[in-house]
């Protein structure tokens, strides 16, 4: 394969010329290879990760995105936990409910219901927001911020309403 003089001079002292020649698609390396080489070099030189993530204040959409995943993961834990638990209380679910009714204060139960309802409401409403984004709508940054606040407020009100049902 012919390598042009400019490239030859640029890579004069480089061992990478073989790599440069080796690919048939005209690019010297794939993006994945570039990325791998970068991280290997960072590891070898013991460079710290930069910029460090924790020194920045996350923007509202990022926080809400994390909250979406967090609520999803939490509800997954509840659903899976209930699934595993069903082997423990086979046919005794009514007794479990009676036990909670007799032993837990109603205010605690009310608070627990609101806390249980909030992730569902938020995840559902924010999920709708994500679906709207997936259809290519509402992607202006101002709109994203507005719908974000709206979703949090609505989720809070809805969880209060469902919790007090």
């Amino acid at each position: 394969m012919i390598v042009n003089p400019a490239t030859r001079i640029l890579f004069r002292n480089s061992k990478n010329l073989t790599l440069l020649k080796s690919r048939t698609n005209g690019y010297s390396r794939t993006a994945a290879e570039e990325s791998r080489l970068f991280w290997e070099k960072n590891d070898k030189l013991k460079r710290p990760m930069s910029p460090h993530l924790t020194i920045y204040r996350l923007p509202q959409p990022a926080n809400l995105s994390i909250m979406h995943r967090g609520t999803g993961a939490a509800m997954t834990a509840v659903v899976f936990g209930f699934g595993f638990g069903s082997f423990l209380w086979t046919g005794k679910f009514d007794k479990v409910v009676e036990f909670v009714r007799d032993n837990v204060h109603p205010h605690v139960i009310l608070t627990a219901k609101i806390i249980l309802a909030f992730p569902l409401c938020y995840h559902a409403l924010n999920g709708v927001r994500h679906l709207v984004w997936d259809s290519g709508r509402g992607l202006k940054l101002q709109t994203i911020h507005k719908t974000g606040y709206a979703v949090v407020a609505l989720a809070f009100l809805l969880s209060l309403a469902i919790g007090t049902l």
């Binding site: 394969m1 012919i2 042009n4 003089p5 400019a6 490239t7 001079i9 048939t24 698609n25 005209g26 690019y27 995943r69 999803g72 993961a73 509800m75 997954t76 659903v79 899976f80 209930f82 699934g83 595993f84 638990g85 069903s86 082997f87 209380w89 086979t90 046919g91 679910f93 009514d94 409910v97 909670v100 009714r101 139960i109 219901k113 569902l120 559902a124 999920g127 709708v128 994500h130 679906l131 997936d134 049902l165």
Partner: protein
């Protein structure tokens, strides 16, 4: 001179790209205009058009490059990812109906449907979390294996609850009546 696409086929066809080096060379050493006329190639008494225009040596003026379409993945499973993405969205929309619907209807069919939909949606959500945040050679495989076995066990458990106990919708109503 910019590169010329000879063949621009559809997906995964081989593009032949003519990439003359005259531009690169001239910008590098600024000798484009001073290249000698002896470098022009003559083919069977007729002057070669490309060589005449670019005035670069024979072994440098042309390079045929075979490349895959740069914006499409050559891997087959990447093509199917789009379909999976769509099914994920349809299920998400479906859950908006299945959750309130099953609680209102209280039938066994909707209970099983709710169990399946919740587990599958949770599995796909957690899968994307694992794929995004867990890196390495073995760790993602282990995490995904744990996730899939947990999902399976949870689905079996929820079905068992539907079969042997009051069922999901009635259970939710009973908890909410506390």
């Amino acid at each position: 001179m910019s590169s010329v696409n000879l063949l621009r086929g559809g997906f995964r066809s081989i593009n032949s790209i003519l990439r003359p080096y005259s531009t690169v060379q001239s910008s590098f050493n600024g000798r484009n205009a001073t290249l000698a006329k002896k470098n022009i190639l003559f083919v069977s008494g007729q002057q070669n058009q490309i060589a005449q225009q670019s005035r670069v040596p024979l072994n440098q003026y042309i390079r045929a490059v075979a490349s895959v379409h740069p914006h499409r993945s050559p891997l087959e499973h990447d093509e199917k990812a789009g379909l999976h993405w769509s099914i994920e969205r349809y299920l998400a929309v479906g859950l908006l109906a299945i959750i309130p619907g099953s609680i209102l209807l209280e039938t066994s069919v909707t209970d099983y449907l709710l169990a399946a939909a919740l587990v599958v949606h949770a599995n796909w959500g957690c899968r994307s979390i694992i794929v995004d945040y867990i890196h390495g050679k073995q760790l993602p495989k282990i995490a995904l294996a744990v996730l899939y076995s947990a999902s399976f066990l949870a689905f079996v458990g929820l079905c068992y609850f539907n079969y042997s106990d009051v069922g999901l919708s009635k259970a939710i109503k009973k908890i909410w009546s506390l």
